[in-house]
Protein backbone atom coordinates (compact mmCIF):
# COMPACT_ATOMS: atom_id res chain seq x y z
CA UNK A 1 0.00 0.00 0.00
CA UNK A 2 1.26 3.45 -0.79
CA UNK A 3 1.01 6.05 1.88
CA UNK A 4 0.30 9.70 1.17
CA UNK A 5 0.43 13.08 2.78
CA UNK A 6 -2.07 15.86 2.49
CA UNK A 7 -0.95 18.21 -0.26
CA UNK A 8 -1.70 21.88 -0.37
CA UNK A 9 -2.22 22.34 -4.06
CA UNK A 10 -1.40 20.77 -7.34
CA UNK A 11 1.07 23.58 -8.08
CA UNK A 12 2.95 23.10 -4.82
CA UNK A 13 2.54 19.51 -3.85
CA UNK A 14 3.54 18.24 -0.46
CA UNK A 15 6.43 15.84 -0.30
CA UNK A 16 4.77 12.54 -1.10
CA UNK A 17 5.78 9.22 0.27
CA UNK A 18 7.04 6.66 -2.16
CA UNK A 19 4.87 3.86 -3.37
CA UNK A 20 6.19 0.39 -2.54
CA UNK A 21 8.57 -1.10 -5.01
CA UNK A 22 8.53 -4.58 -6.38
CA UNK A 23 10.85 -6.96 -4.53
CA UNK A 24 13.62 -7.04 -7.12
CA UNK A 25 15.42 -3.72 -7.49
CA UNK A 26 15.42 -2.63 -11.12
CA UNK A 27 18.78 -2.29 -12.80
CA UNK A 28 17.82 0.96 -14.50
CA UNK A 29 16.51 3.61 -12.11
CA UNK A 30 12.79 3.80 -12.50
CA UNK A 31 11.06 7.05 -13.29
CA UNK A 32 8.23 8.30 -11.12
CA UNK A 33 5.29 10.54 -11.71
CA UNK A 34 2.86 12.27 -9.41
CA UNK A 35 -0.93 12.31 -9.43
CA UNK A 36 -3.56 13.80 -7.20
CA UNK A 37 -7.32 13.72 -6.95
CA UNK A 38 -9.99 16.05 -5.66
CA UNK A 39 -8.41 16.08 -2.18
CA UNK A 40 -5.03 17.27 -3.54
CA UNK A 41 -3.18 14.41 -1.84
CA UNK A 42 -0.27 13.67 -4.11
CA UNK A 43 0.69 10.07 -4.88
CA UNK A 44 4.08 9.17 -6.23
CA UNK A 45 3.70 6.31 -8.67
CA UNK A 46 6.24 4.55 -10.84
CA UNK A 47 5.93 4.68 -14.59
CA UNK A 48 5.67 0.87 -14.50
CA UNK A 49 2.61 0.96 -12.30
CA UNK A 50 1.07 3.74 -14.36
CA UNK A 51 1.30 1.61 -17.48
CA UNK A 52 -2.01 0.05 -16.42
CA UNK A 53 -3.69 3.35 -17.21
CA UNK A 54 -3.86 3.93 -20.95
CA UNK A 55 -4.74 7.58 -20.29
CA UNK A 56 -1.76 8.34 -18.05
CA UNK A 57 0.58 6.16 -20.06
CA UNK A 58 -0.34 8.20 -23.14
CA UNK A 59 0.27 11.42 -21.24
CA UNK A 60 3.69 10.51 -19.91
CA UNK A 61 5.11 8.54 -22.79
CA UNK A 62 6.54 11.58 -24.58
CA UNK A 63 7.10 13.90 -21.63
CA UNK A 64 10.68 13.01 -20.74
CA UNK A 65 10.30 14.73 -17.35
CA UNK A 66 13.15 14.83 -14.90
CA UNK A 67 12.33 13.80 -11.33
CA UNK A 68 12.07 17.46 -10.35
CA UNK A 69 9.83 18.36 -13.25
CA UNK A 70 7.56 15.42 -12.51
CA UNK A 71 7.32 16.41 -8.86
CA UNK A 72 6.51 19.97 -9.77
CA UNK A 73 3.82 18.96 -12.24
CA UNK A 74 1.58 16.29 -10.72
CA UNK A 75 -1.29 15.16 -12.90
CA UNK A 76 -4.49 16.59 -11.49
CA UNK A 77 -7.56 14.39 -11.55
CA UNK A 78 -10.01 16.77 -9.97
CA UNK A 79 -12.95 14.59 -10.95
CA UNK A 80 -11.73 11.68 -8.83
CA UNK A 81 -12.19 11.52 -5.07
CA UNK A 82 -8.99 11.16 -3.08
CA UNK A 83 -9.85 7.79 -1.54
CA UNK A 84 -10.84 6.41 -4.95
CA UNK A 85 -7.58 7.58 -6.53
CA UNK A 86 -5.78 5.95 -3.61
CA UNK A 87 -7.49 2.64 -4.43
CA UNK A 88 -6.51 2.98 -8.07
CA UNK A 89 -2.88 3.78 -7.21
CA UNK A 90 -2.76 0.85 -4.80
CA UNK A 91 -4.13 -1.49 -7.46
CA UNK A 92 -1.65 -0.26 -10.07
CA UNK A 93 1.20 -0.76 -7.64
CA UNK A 94 0.07 -4.22 -6.62
CA UNK A 95 -0.22 -5.34 -10.21
CA UNK A 96 2.88 -3.60 -11.55
CA UNK A 97 4.65 -5.81 -14.08
CA UNK A 98 2.53 -8.81 -13.15
CA UNK A 99 -0.06 -10.66 -15.16
CA UNK A 100 -3.45 -9.78 -13.75
CA UNK A 101 -5.31 -12.67 -12.11
CA UNK A 102 -8.69 -13.78 -13.48
CA UNK A 103 -10.51 -12.39 -10.43
CA UNK A 104 -9.94 -9.61 -7.96
CA UNK A 105 -11.65 -9.99 -4.62
CA UNK A 106 -10.28 -6.82 -3.05
CA UNK A 107 -12.71 -4.42 -4.64
CA UNK A 108 -14.92 -2.31 -2.41
CA UNK A 109 -18.15 -3.94 -1.31
CA UNK A 110 -20.01 -0.67 -0.66
CA UNK A 111 -21.93 0.15 -3.79
CA UNK A 112 -21.26 3.90 -3.78
CA UNK A 113 -17.50 3.39 -3.53
CA UNK A 114 -17.64 0.78 -6.27
CA UNK A 115 -19.72 3.12 -8.42
CA UNK A 116 -17.11 5.91 -8.08
CA UNK A 117 -14.28 3.47 -8.67
CA UNK A 118 -15.87 2.33 -11.93
CA UNK A 119 -16.15 5.90 -13.16
CA UNK A 120 -12.55 6.68 -12.19
CA UNK A 121 -11.16 3.51 -13.72
CA UNK A 122 -13.12 4.07 -16.90
CA UNK A 123 -11.79 7.64 -17.10
CA UNK A 124 -8.23 6.52 -16.49
CA UNK A 125 -8.66 3.68 -18.99
CA UNK A 126 -7.45 0.86 -16.79
CA UNK A 127 -8.88 -2.01 -18.76
CA UNK A 128 -8.27 -4.95 -16.42
CA UNK A 129 -9.48 -3.14 -13.32
CA UNK A 130 -12.54 -1.94 -15.20
CA UNK A 131 -13.32 -5.55 -16.12
CA UNK A 132 -13.07 -6.62 -12.47
CA UNK A 133 -15.23 -3.72 -11.37
CA UNK A 134 -17.91 -4.42 -13.97
CA UNK A 135 -17.94 -8.06 -12.89
CA UNK A 136 -18.44 -6.95 -9.32
CA UNK A 137 -21.24 -4.58 -10.31
CA UNK A 138 -22.91 -7.39 -12.27
CA UNK A 139 -22.59 -9.70 -9.24
CA UNK A 140 -24.60 -7.26 -7.15
CA UNK A 141 -27.84 -8.19 -8.88
CA UNK A 142 -27.33 -11.94 -9.02
CA UNK A 143 -30.42 -13.75 -7.80
CA UNK A 144 -32.38 -10.52 -7.26
CA UNK A 145 -35.93 -9.70 -8.26
CA UNK A 146 -36.60 -6.81 -10.68
CA UNK A 147 -37.64 -4.57 -7.77
CA UNK A 148 -34.45 -5.36 -5.87
CA UNK A 149 -32.39 -4.62 -8.97
CA UNK A 150 -34.25 -1.34 -9.41
CA UNK A 151 -33.30 -0.41 -5.86
CA UNK A 152 -29.64 -1.44 -6.15
CA UNK A 153 -29.01 0.29 -9.46
CA UNK A 154 -31.48 3.14 -8.87
CA UNK A 155 -33.42 2.50 -12.05
CA UNK A 156 -36.52 4.62 -12.55
CA UNK A 157 -39.88 2.96 -13.19
CA UNK A 158 -41.52 3.31 -16.60
CA UNK A 159 -43.82 5.97 -15.11
CA UNK A 160 -40.84 7.90 -13.78
CA UNK A 161 -39.07 7.63 -17.13
CA UNK A 162 -42.15 8.89 -18.91
CA UNK A 163 -42.55 11.80 -16.47
CA UNK A 164 -38.88 12.71 -16.89
CA UNK A 165 -39.21 12.56 -20.65
CA UNK A 166 -42.27 14.83 -20.56
CA UNK A 167 -40.44 17.26 -18.28
CA UNK A 168 -37.41 17.27 -20.59
CA UNK A 169 -39.63 17.94 -23.60
CA UNK A 170 -41.38 20.74 -21.75
CA UNK A 171 -38.05 22.27 -20.78
CA UNK A 172 -36.71 21.97 -24.32
CA UNK A 173 -39.88 23.63 -25.62
CA UNK A 174 -39.52 26.49 -23.16
CA UNK A 175 -35.85 26.95 -24.05
CA UNK A 176 -36.66 26.98 -27.75
CA UNK A 177 -39.43 29.53 -27.14
CA UNK A 178 -37.02 31.63 -25.09
CA UNK A 179 -34.43 31.51 -27.86
CA UNK A 180 -37.02 32.49 -30.45
CA UNK A 181 -38.16 35.40 -28.30
CA UNK A 182 -34.56 36.48 -27.76
CA UNK A 183 -33.85 36.27 -31.48
CA UNK A 184 -36.96 38.33 -32.19
CA UNK A 185 -35.81 40.88 -29.62
CA UNK A 186 -32.40 41.07 -31.26
CA UNK A 187 -33.98 41.55 -34.65
CA UNK A 188 -35.93 44.55 -33.34
Amino acid sequence: MSSTEQGTSSAAPAEPTTAPESAAAPEVPESFYYVHGKDKVVHKVSAGALQHSALIHGMISNLGYTEEQAKANPFPFENIDGDILQMVVDWCNQHKGKPTPPEDTNLPKQKEKLFDLVLAVNYLEIKELLTYCCKQVAMMVKGKSPEEIREIWMIPTDAEDEAAEKEAKKRAGKEAAGETAAAAGDAK
Binding site: M140, S145, W153, I155, D158
Partner: protein, 353 residues
Protein backbone atom coordinates in the same frame (compact mmCIF):
# COMPACT_ATOMS: atom_id res chain seq x y z
CA UNK B 1 -25.33 3.58 -7.61
CA UNK B 2 -27.15 4.80 -10.65
CA UNK B 3 -26.57 2.54 -13.62
CA UNK B 4 -27.71 5.16 -16.10
CA UNK B 5 -24.86 7.46 -15.02
CA UNK B 6 -22.32 5.04 -16.42
CA UNK B 7 -21.10 5.60 -19.97
CA UNK B 8 -22.50 3.22 -22.59
CA UNK B 9 -19.23 1.28 -22.76
CA UNK B 10 -19.34 0.55 -19.02
CA UNK B 11 -23.01 -0.39 -19.14
CA UNK B 12 -22.22 -2.85 -21.91
CA UNK B 13 -19.32 -4.31 -19.93
CA UNK B 14 -21.63 -4.83 -16.96
CA UNK B 15 -24.21 -6.55 -19.16
CA UNK B 16 -21.40 -8.66 -20.59
CA UNK B 17 -20.67 -9.94 -17.12
CA UNK B 18 -24.25 -10.82 -16.29
CA UNK B 19 -25.58 -14.31 -16.74
CA UNK B 20 -28.53 -14.80 -19.07
CA UNK B 21 -30.75 -15.69 -16.10
CA UNK B 22 -29.94 -12.28 -14.58
CA UNK B 23 -30.43 -10.52 -17.91
CA UNK B 24 -33.83 -12.17 -18.23
CA UNK B 25 -34.92 -10.76 -14.86
CA UNK B 26 -33.20 -7.44 -15.56
CA UNK B 27 -35.29 -7.08 -18.72
CA UNK B 28 -38.40 -6.79 -16.51
CA UNK B 29 -37.09 -3.83 -14.51
CA UNK B 30 -38.27 -1.25 -17.04
CA UNK B 31 -38.85 -0.72 -20.74
CA UNK B 32 -35.55 1.13 -20.89
CA UNK B 33 -33.55 -1.72 -19.35
CA UNK B 34 -35.09 -4.14 -21.84
CA UNK B 35 -34.06 -1.85 -24.68
CA UNK B 36 -30.58 -1.48 -23.16
CA UNK B 37 -30.11 -5.26 -23.19
CA UNK B 38 -31.56 -5.69 -26.65
CA UNK B 39 -29.22 -3.09 -28.13
CA UNK B 40 -26.12 -4.36 -26.31
CA UNK B 41 -23.31 -5.94 -28.34
CA UNK B 42 -23.69 -9.08 -26.24
CA UNK B 43 -27.28 -9.60 -27.29
CA UNK B 44 -26.45 -8.87 -30.91
CA UNK B 45 -23.75 -11.56 -30.81
CA UNK B 46 -26.16 -13.98 -29.17
CA UNK B 47 -28.86 -13.45 -31.76
CA UNK B 48 -26.51 -14.35 -34.57
CA UNK B 49 -25.53 -17.83 -33.43
CA UNK B 50 -27.29 -19.23 -30.44
CA UNK B 51 -30.12 -21.53 -29.56
CA UNK B 52 -32.64 -21.65 -26.72
CA UNK B 53 -33.53 -25.04 -25.30
CA UNK B 54 -36.70 -25.96 -23.44
CA UNK B 55 -36.36 -29.27 -21.63
CA UNK B 56 -39.58 -30.70 -20.27
CA UNK B 57 -39.68 -33.53 -17.74
CA UNK B 58 -42.58 -34.40 -15.43
CA UNK B 59 -44.00 -31.03 -14.36
CA UNK B 60 -40.95 -28.90 -15.07
CA UNK B 61 -39.56 -27.10 -18.06
CA UNK B 62 -36.03 -25.80 -17.90
CA UNK B 63 -35.20 -23.01 -20.32
CA UNK B 64 -31.50 -22.97 -21.01
CA UNK B 65 -28.86 -21.88 -23.46
CA UNK B 66 -26.48 -24.56 -24.71
CA UNK B 67 -22.83 -23.64 -24.48
CA UNK B 68 -19.73 -25.78 -24.87
CA UNK B 69 -20.16 -28.75 -22.53
CA UNK B 70 -23.07 -27.34 -20.53
CA UNK B 71 -26.56 -25.97 -20.68
CA UNK B 72 -26.75 -22.60 -18.96
CA UNK B 73 -30.05 -22.57 -17.10
CA UNK B 74 -31.89 -19.32 -17.60
CA UNK B 75 -35.34 -20.04 -16.23
CA UNK B 76 -37.42 -22.88 -14.88
CA UNK B 77 -41.16 -23.23 -15.32
CA UNK B 78 -42.94 -25.35 -12.74
CA UNK B 79 -46.54 -26.51 -12.97
CA UNK B 80 -47.69 -25.80 -9.46
CA UNK B 81 -50.68 -24.20 -7.81
CA UNK B 82 -48.84 -23.26 -4.67
CA UNK B 83 -46.13 -20.79 -5.47
CA UNK B 84 -43.61 -20.44 -2.68
CA UNK B 85 -43.76 -17.53 -0.24
CA UNK B 86 -40.99 -15.42 -1.59
CA UNK B 87 -42.51 -14.70 -4.98
CA UNK B 88 -43.13 -11.66 -7.10
CA UNK B 89 -45.35 -11.08 -10.08
CA UNK B 90 -44.12 -10.26 -13.55
CA UNK B 91 -46.09 -9.08 -16.52
CA UNK B 92 -45.16 -11.45 -19.32
CA UNK B 93 -46.67 -10.34 -22.61
CA UNK B 94 -49.68 -8.77 -20.94
CA UNK B 95 -50.39 -11.44 -18.32
CA UNK B 96 -49.27 -11.56 -14.70
CA UNK B 97 -47.50 -14.68 -13.46
CA UNK B 98 -45.81 -15.65 -10.18
CA UNK B 99 -42.04 -15.86 -10.17
CA UNK B 100 -39.40 -16.67 -7.61
CA UNK B 101 -35.62 -17.06 -7.52
CA UNK B 102 -34.00 -20.38 -6.68
CA UNK B 103 -30.43 -21.41 -6.05
CA UNK B 104 -29.59 -24.67 -7.73
CA UNK B 105 -26.50 -26.13 -9.41
CA UNK B 106 -24.34 -23.37 -7.98
CA UNK B 107 -26.32 -20.56 -9.53
CA UNK B 108 -29.39 -18.42 -9.07
CA UNK B 109 -32.10 -18.44 -11.65
CA UNK B 110 -35.74 -17.44 -11.83
CA UNK B 111 -38.56 -19.91 -11.58
CA UNK B 112 -42.05 -19.27 -12.90
CA UNK B 113 -45.11 -20.99 -11.48
CA UNK B 114 -47.84 -22.00 -13.87
CA UNK B 115 -51.15 -23.80 -14.01
CA UNK B 116 -51.29 -27.04 -15.98
CA UNK B 117 -52.34 -25.18 -19.13
CA UNK B 118 -49.81 -23.75 -21.55
CA UNK B 119 -50.59 -20.06 -20.98
CA UNK B 120 -47.35 -19.31 -19.12
CA UNK B 121 -45.24 -21.34 -21.54
CA UNK B 122 -46.84 -19.52 -24.46
CA UNK B 123 -46.33 -16.11 -22.82
CA UNK B 124 -42.71 -16.85 -21.98
CA UNK B 125 -42.03 -18.13 -25.47
CA UNK B 126 -43.54 -14.96 -26.96
CA UNK B 127 -41.41 -12.93 -24.57
CA UNK B 128 -38.24 -14.82 -25.56
CA UNK B 129 -39.07 -14.47 -29.26
CA UNK B 130 -39.36 -10.74 -28.72
CA UNK B 131 -36.28 -10.61 -26.49
CA UNK B 132 -33.90 -12.86 -28.42
CA UNK B 133 -35.46 -12.59 -31.86
CA UNK B 134 -36.42 -14.89 -34.70
CA UNK B 135 -32.91 -15.73 -35.81
CA UNK B 136 -32.30 -17.73 -32.63
CA UNK B 137 -33.21 -21.42 -32.89
CA UNK B 138 -35.73 -22.68 -30.34
CA UNK B 139 -35.80 -26.38 -29.44
CA UNK B 140 -38.28 -28.12 -27.19
CA UNK B 141 -36.97 -31.39 -25.77
CA UNK B 142 -39.57 -33.66 -24.19
CA UNK B 143 -37.93 -36.18 -21.89
CA UNK B 144 -41.13 -38.15 -21.32
CA UNK B 145 -44.45 -38.52 -23.07
CA UNK B 146 -46.75 -37.26 -20.31
CA UNK B 147 -47.62 -34.02 -22.03
CA UNK B 148 -47.61 -33.23 -25.76
CA UNK B 149 -45.12 -30.67 -26.97
CA UNK B 150 -46.93 -27.32 -27.24
CA UNK B 151 -47.48 -25.79 -30.66
CA UNK B 152 -45.31 -22.69 -30.39
CA UNK B 153 -43.99 -20.38 -33.07
CA UNK B 154 -40.54 -21.32 -34.45
CA UNK B 155 -40.18 -24.31 -32.11
CA UNK B 156 -38.36 -27.42 -33.26
CA UNK B 157 -39.83 -30.36 -31.36
CA UNK B 158 -37.46 -33.04 -30.06
CA UNK B 159 -38.05 -36.20 -28.07
CA UNK B 160 -35.39 -37.82 -25.90
CA UNK B 161 -36.36 -41.02 -24.15
CA UNK B 162 -34.13 -43.41 -22.28
CA UNK B 163 -36.57 -46.08 -21.19
CA UNK B 164 -34.44 -49.00 -20.13
CA UNK B 165 -35.92 -51.85 -18.07
CA UNK B 166 -39.48 -50.66 -18.68
CA UNK B 167 -42.22 -51.06 -21.21
CA UNK B 168 -43.29 -48.03 -23.19
CA UNK B 169 -47.04 -47.42 -22.89
CA UNK B 170 -47.98 -47.18 -26.55
CA UNK B 171 -51.38 -45.56 -25.91
CA UNK B 172 -49.79 -42.70 -24.00
CA UNK B 173 -46.94 -42.48 -26.48
CA UNK B 174 -49.26 -42.27 -29.50
CA UNK B 175 -51.36 -39.64 -27.76
CA UNK B 176 -48.19 -37.65 -27.07
CA UNK B 177 -46.78 -37.94 -30.54
CA UNK B 178 -50.02 -37.35 -32.43
CA UNK B 179 -50.74 -34.17 -30.44
CA UNK B 180 -47.20 -32.82 -30.74
CA UNK B 181 -45.78 -30.98 -33.77
CA UNK B 182 -43.89 -33.15 -36.28
CA UNK B 183 -40.65 -33.96 -34.52
CA UNK B 184 -37.35 -32.71 -35.73
CA UNK B 185 -35.28 -35.08 -33.64
CA UNK B 186 -35.83 -38.30 -31.73
CA UNK B 187 -33.24 -39.94 -29.53
CA UNK B 188 -34.72 -43.07 -28.03
CA UNK B 189 -33.63 -46.14 -26.13
CA UNK B 190 -36.43 -48.56 -25.38
CA UNK B 191 -36.58 -52.26 -24.63
CA UNK B 192 -40.22 -53.02 -25.26
CA UNK B 193 -43.63 -51.51 -25.83
CA UNK B 194 -47.18 -52.47 -24.84
CA UNK B 195 -48.19 -52.63 -28.53
CA UNK B 196 -46.54 -52.29 -31.94
CA UNK B 197 -46.00 -48.85 -33.46
CA UNK B 198 -48.63 -47.93 -36.02
CA UNK B 199 -47.05 -47.71 -39.51
CA UNK B 200 -48.85 -44.39 -39.82
CA UNK B 201 -47.44 -43.06 -36.55
CA UNK B 202 -46.14 -39.48 -36.64
CA UNK B 203 -43.05 -41.00 -35.07
CA UNK B 204 -41.78 -41.95 -38.54
CA UNK B 205 -42.17 -38.40 -39.83
CA UNK B 206 -39.37 -37.17 -37.55
CA UNK B 207 -36.58 -35.58 -39.55
CA UNK B 208 -33.86 -37.28 -37.53
CA UNK B 209 -34.13 -40.52 -35.57
CA UNK B 210 -31.43 -41.94 -33.35
CA UNK B 211 -32.39 -45.16 -31.58
CA UNK B 212 -30.92 -48.05 -29.70
CA UNK B 213 -33.47 -50.82 -29.63
CA UNK B 214 -33.77 -54.48 -28.71
CA UNK B 215 -36.45 -55.29 -31.25
CA UNK B 216 -35.85 -54.05 -34.81
CA UNK B 217 -39.56 -53.52 -35.32
CA UNK B 218 -40.14 -51.46 -32.18
CA UNK B 219 -40.11 -49.02 -33.88
CA UNK B 220 -39.87 -50.36 -37.44
CA UNK B 221 -37.90 -47.43 -38.78
CA UNK B 222 -36.32 -49.43 -41.59
CA UNK B 223 -39.74 -49.91 -43.15
CA UNK B 224 -41.66 -46.74 -42.36
CA UNK B 225 -39.19 -43.88 -41.93
CA UNK B 226 -40.28 -40.74 -43.78
CA UNK B 227 -37.62 -38.37 -42.51
CA UNK B 228 -34.11 -37.39 -43.57
CA UNK B 229 -31.53 -38.89 -41.25
CA UNK B 230 -31.64 -42.11 -39.19
CA UNK B 231 -29.01 -43.68 -36.97
CA UNK B 232 -30.22 -47.07 -35.75
CA UNK B 233 -28.53 -49.51 -33.45
CA UNK B 234 -30.09 -52.95 -33.06
CA UNK B 235 -29.35 -55.94 -30.95
CA UNK B 236 -30.40 -57.98 -33.95
CA UNK B 237 -31.67 -57.11 -37.41
CA UNK B 238 -32.87 -59.02 -40.47
CA UNK B 239 -30.57 -58.28 -43.38
CA UNK B 240 -33.57 -58.40 -45.73
CA UNK B 241 -35.01 -55.31 -44.08
CA UNK B 242 -31.88 -53.38 -45.06
CA UNK B 243 -32.06 -54.77 -48.61
CA UNK B 244 -35.75 -53.90 -48.84
CA UNK B 245 -35.05 -50.34 -47.71
CA UNK B 246 -32.48 -49.82 -50.46
CA UNK B 247 -34.66 -51.39 -53.12
CA UNK B 248 -37.69 -49.30 -52.12
CA UNK B 249 -35.53 -46.20 -52.28
CA UNK B 250 -34.18 -47.24 -55.70
CA UNK B 251 -37.64 -47.72 -57.12
CA UNK B 252 -38.85 -44.40 -55.69
CA UNK B 253 -41.55 -46.25 -53.76
CA UNK B 254 -40.48 -44.89 -50.36
CA UNK B 255 -37.83 -42.97 -48.42
CA UNK B 256 -38.01 -40.05 -50.83
CA UNK B 257 -36.65 -37.56 -48.30
CA UNK B 258 -33.94 -39.87 -47.01
CA UNK B 259 -30.48 -38.32 -46.86
CA UNK B 260 -28.50 -40.71 -44.72
CA UNK B 261 -29.09 -43.88 -42.74
CA UNK B 262 -26.74 -45.88 -40.59
CA UNK B 263 -27.58 -49.28 -39.15
CA UNK B 264 -25.38 -50.90 -36.55
CA UNK B 265 -25.92 -54.48 -35.35
CA UNK B 266 -24.14 -56.81 -32.96
CA UNK B 267 -22.87 -59.23 -35.63
CA UNK B 268 -21.23 -58.66 -39.01
CA UNK B 269 -23.40 -57.89 -42.03
CA UNK B 270 -23.05 -60.17 -45.03
CA UNK B 271 -21.61 -57.60 -47.40
CA UNK B 272 -21.76 -59.73 -50.56
CA UNK B 273 -25.37 -60.71 -50.02
CA UNK B 274 -26.43 -57.10 -49.54
CA UNK B 275 -24.48 -55.75 -52.52
CA UNK B 276 -25.80 -58.46 -54.77
CA UNK B 277 -29.42 -58.04 -53.64
CA UNK B 278 -29.43 -54.25 -54.09
CA UNK B 279 -27.74 -54.38 -57.49
CA UNK B 280 -24.86 -52.19 -56.35
CA UNK B 281 -22.71 -50.48 -58.97
CA UNK B 282 -18.97 -50.11 -58.53
CA UNK B 283 -16.59 -47.23 -59.02
CA UNK B 284 -13.38 -47.99 -60.89
CA UNK B 285 -10.79 -48.92 -58.25
CA UNK B 286 -8.23 -46.73 -59.95
CA UNK B 287 -10.29 -43.72 -58.87
CA UNK B 288 -10.76 -42.16 -55.47
CA UNK B 289 -14.39 -42.36 -54.40
CA UNK B 290 -16.03 -39.18 -53.14
CA UNK B 291 -16.93 -38.86 -49.47
CA UNK B 292 -20.54 -38.34 -48.47
CA UNK B 293 -21.25 -36.17 -45.46
CA UNK B 294 -24.04 -33.74 -44.57
CA UNK B 295 -24.84 -31.23 -41.88
CA UNK B 296 -26.75 -32.99 -39.12
CA UNK B 297 -30.43 -32.13 -38.98
CA UNK B 298 -30.00 -31.61 -35.26
CA UNK B 299 -27.16 -31.61 -32.79
CA UNK B 300 -26.87 -30.47 -29.23
CA UNK B 301 -24.20 -27.83 -29.67
CA UNK B 302 -23.17 -28.24 -26.02
CA UNK B 303 -22.14 -31.87 -26.25
CA UNK B 304 -22.03 -32.90 -29.91
CA UNK B 305 -19.04 -31.18 -31.42
CA UNK B 306 -19.36 -32.77 -34.85
CA UNK B 307 -21.71 -30.70 -37.01
CA UNK B 308 -21.75 -33.21 -39.87
CA UNK B 309 -22.80 -36.83 -40.33
CA UNK B 310 -20.09 -39.47 -40.35
CA UNK B 311 -18.27 -39.55 -43.69
CA UNK B 312 -19.16 -42.40 -46.06
CA UNK B 313 -16.43 -43.19 -48.57
CA UNK B 314 -17.37 -46.16 -50.71
CA UNK B 315 -16.70 -47.70 -54.12
CA UNK B 316 -20.28 -48.97 -54.27
CA UNK B 317 -23.43 -47.05 -55.00
CA UNK B 318 -26.99 -47.42 -56.21
CA UNK B 319 -29.09 -45.23 -58.50
CA UNK B 320 -32.72 -44.23 -58.03
CA UNK B 321 -34.75 -45.11 -61.09
CA UNK B 322 -37.09 -42.14 -60.93
CA UNK B 323 -34.50 -39.35 -61.03
CA UNK B 324 -31.07 -41.00 -61.40
CA UNK B 325 -30.04 -39.77 -57.95
CA UNK B 326 -27.10 -41.66 -56.44
CA UNK B 327 -26.59 -43.08 -52.96
CA UNK B 328 -23.28 -44.35 -51.66
CA UNK B 329 -23.51 -47.72 -49.92
CA UNK B 330 -20.93 -48.91 -47.46
CA UNK B 331 -21.09 -52.20 -45.58
CA UNK B 332 -18.30 -52.61 -43.12
CA UNK B 333 -18.28 -55.29 -40.41
CA UNK B 334 -21.34 -54.50 -38.25
CA UNK B 335 -22.30 -51.24 -39.88
CA UNK B 336 -24.39 -50.43 -42.93
CA UNK B 337 -24.20 -46.86 -44.28
CA UNK B 338 -26.35 -45.32 -46.95
CA UNK B 339 -25.82 -41.70 -48.03
CA UNK B 340 -27.91 -40.01 -50.72
CA UNK B 341 -26.20 -37.51 -52.99
CA UNK B 342 -27.80 -34.43 -54.43
CA UNK B 343 -26.43 -35.58 -57.79
CA UNK B 344 -27.43 -37.72 -60.75
CA UNK B 345 -25.21 -40.66 -61.67
CA UNK B 346 -23.47 -38.64 -64.41
CA UNK B 347 -22.81 -35.76 -62.05
CA UNK B 348 -21.62 -38.16 -59.37
CA UNK B 349 -19.17 -39.92 -61.68
CA UNK B 350 -17.86 -36.60 -62.95
CA UNK B 351 -16.69 -35.69 -59.41
CA UNK B 352 -13.94 -38.27 -59.84
CA UNK B 353 -12.75 -37.08 -63.27
Amino acid sequence: MQLSKYPQLVQNMILNNMEYSDLFIFSFVSKKTKKLIESSPRMKRFKSVNTIRYEHHYDRTMVSIPFHQFHDNMLQIIESDDAENDTFQLNVCGKLFDFGIIYDGNKYYPVAFSQADNSLIAAIHDYLLDFFGNSVEYYWHALDCRKPIPQLQNISACFNLAFANSILDMGRFENFISSSPVLKFIDMYIENTTAPFSPESKFYQAEHIDTYQFEPTLPDTLRHFKGRQAFLEYLRCNIHDVIELVNKWKSGEAFNKLEVIEVKISVDFNQNEIMHAIGAKHIDHAKKPPTHTLPKVYRDIAFDEEPNTDPITSYTYVVRETDSRVASVLVHDRTFNFGVWDKTEDEFLRIMD
